[in-house]
Symmetry: C3
Subunit: 147 residues, 3 copies
């Protein structure tokens, strides 16, 4: 019934502005799934770096302000971080926020679609304190149509 | 030694009361694993919606009060959320809490059992501000007995 | 092009001191991958217990102080936890911190290497309030060299 189990490794390239810059990856990941023809499996998304994180949210203007305000409240940019004593690059808060949110997200794929809710999008948050070029890792795995 | 690699997509249906309503999914997921006959693999649990999350805890009465009190302390229900300006549905705090906890959990399955600790249960937390019917996605994958 | 899809279940043994004791697992996981010969796939790391968690960070002395200070600030050891009424073991804060961080981490493996950033390490944080012997679960899966 199922074809061969496949693993496809890709990256998604992003230009980010930093300081809780939020990018909706949902459409791009679904496009990659469509191209790959994965019917049943998983989309594993991973941030190769310690100042960005992944989660889901409803990607609407209000929450795009609420999430940065939340991170500023529990991990303030202006506080002192010992990371500063090591590197003097001013992004201790970025590191703590990224460790808290986590670098990894796994989404089931069923009948060729990620099992997201209607009002739920996959977001990458860049917590760093400067613009970056980011390569987010996308690993699609599973089986396609039987051939 | 190993049988064919299989992927089974299911859902677990729940009636929730909202506002940090915590449901222990462990027993039901293990039952599904037993039925499926997966010996080595993974249980991927996923919340298809942006106001619920997944983690593990010791499911005992004290922590069932501690976890909601923690979320109320760091993401208070009574604070102002810009999400309110978009939808006026009073659940901005639910969204921020859900994004923080995350919608996805992956548990290894070894010799037919999830590798949980004795005092560790898989919990779904419904952060929404009203009762909901929830379908949590469960993807079991791996190999069964050779046969 | 790809060999057989394999699943290898292992554990990593650790002696921990508790109270946000942070262990860098990166080198050991990469060694296990090299031994297993997995070329494309995943490393799933899982804490079988409700007082430890996993994430990534830059493993340098400053952040090794910042992360414990962050957890102490948002989940103070000295606060009252209802968990105490159940067990009287003084580790309510350990449980809340572990549920927040989460027990599970999935890292893509591409060309035999985990897709971590240069300054990004996989860390296990023991939040418990006493020394422990820990077995962290490591599940390597994927395909090796064709052959």
């Amino acid at each position: 019934m199922q074809g061969e189990h496949r693993i496809l490794n890709q990256t998604i390239e992003l230009s980010t502005t930093g300081e809780c810059d939020i990018h909706d990856l949902t459409g791009e990941i679904q496009r990659r799934l469509d191209e790959a023809g994965i019917i049943d499996g998983q989309a594993l998304v991973f941030v190769p770096g310690a100042t960005g994180g992944l989660t889901t949210t409803e990607h609407e203007p209000g929450l795009l302000r609420d999430l940065p305000e939340f991170f500023e409240r529990i991990v303030p940019k202006g506080a002192h971080y010992h990371h500063e004593d090591t590197w003097h690059d001013g992004n201790g808060h970025s590191h703590v926020r990224a460790s808290l949110l986590g670098p990894s997200l796994v989404v089931p794929v069923v009948d060729g679609r990620m099992t997201l809710g209607t009002w739920q999008q996959i977001i990458f948050i860049d917590f760093d304190n400067r613009p970056r070029q980011r390569s987010v890792v996308l690993q699609l795995s599973g089986v396609g149509a039987s051939g």
